[in-house]
Symmetry: C2
Subunit: 209 residues, 2 copies
């Protein structure tokens, strides 16, 4: 088990870049190209790959198809990953319809909400009552959830998810949730990302006046 989050994020990025190179007609690729595509160094690319026993050919580089297959296998993408989403508000609904997930082999198989007006079991991705969530997760063996509820409901919803057997949560609620031994949390706080950008743009502007 390679326990380095940044390394896994880079593998995802290499894989996305490889898919694009393939679309452009490439059959083989050098680590330098991949490094350039994701903004790293070729030494880093080779080091990341070597951790998983992937080696290229100094003259010919890496075979793109074989490399994509290997990365998909490492990233657990040989089968479709079933995911549930909790909180079918504006952001949640957009994530349900976000076709990049499907392209990446990630399928949101149901969404859950507390608001009766949002319930729609017949939608392409059914939107169900939150009471049905635990049973649904168990029945379908779902281990990953996307959380897009208001911050005030986030911790309570997380507790329900963990109790139902969820092992990983991508959290969009604007509150920092903490992982446990039983469940990994990836916090994506869009307002924090934007604030961070605003800070650097502002300080750069001041520095150049």
């Amino acid at each position: 088990m390679i326990n380095n989050k940044n390394c896994i994020i880079r593998l995802s990025r290499y894989k996305n870049a490889l898919v694009r190179f393939k679309t452009l007609g490439f059959i083989k690729i050098f680590s330098e190209y991949l490094a350039d595509a994701v903004g790293g160094t070729s030494a880093q690319v080779r080091k990341d790959f070597s951790l998983f026993g992937i080696s290229g050919n100094k003259r010919g580089g890496y075979q793109i198809d074989a490399l994509i297959a290997k990365l998909n296998s490492i990233l657990g993408k040989n089968e479709v990953q079933k995911v549930v989403l909790v909180g079918a508000g504006q952001l949640g609904s957009a994530l349900v319809r976000y076709n990049t997930f499907e392209k990446e082999g990630i399928k949101i198989i149901a969404a859950f909400d507390i608001d009766p007006a949002k319930i729609n079991p017949k939608a392409p991705t059914p939107i169900l009552q939150i009471d049905e969530m635990a049973r649904f997760i168990l029945k379908n063996g779902v281990r990953i959830a996307i959380l897009s509820v208001p911050d005030s409901a986030a911790q309570q919803t997380l507790d329900m998810l963990v109790k139902a057997g969820i092992k990983g949560v991508l959290n969009f609620a604007p509150i920092e949730l903490k992982g446990t031994n039983d469940c990994i949390i990836n916090n994506v706080n869009l307002a924090v990302e934007l604030e961070n950008l605003i800070y650097f743009v502002n300080v750069t502007a001041k520095a150049t006046v």
Copy 2:
């Protein structure tokens, strides 16, 4: 100028946590509480604050109101930050209506799209033709843009934005864009975040079988 991205991200998180503590009726707070709320250590909290000349009182802790005001000033939030969004698809539309941005003093003042069917200058956040973008950015002195276009259009759109004077971009297109001296990029790749989570949940499951 404090040039440490992680430190700024932590300041954003402290500030969000402080707002929540304030809602709960707190007037003062100790670094330990803040550390606990964002998942760090109290030493880190004090170190981050000291970089900006903020010091607490060993007995009484920090005054919440004064601390929020100071953090808002550091993060450039004393005034509303005007932002444009490019790409009014599912995700872009959700971001336009994402009320957490408004709560944080970030206002998307216009969205732009290439699809004539999406144009709606009379919407609460007007959706305008992409031809009008450069003039709009210049006229309104906008420096920050959110990019939510397909990956195939991302680089070209970025070039247009930089030419129009944009200094910071929050990129949701599923492609890694690179910043320049003129423009900072924050890449938020939702599929990569989710893949990363899937990887760790899978390896943990394998390790415990």
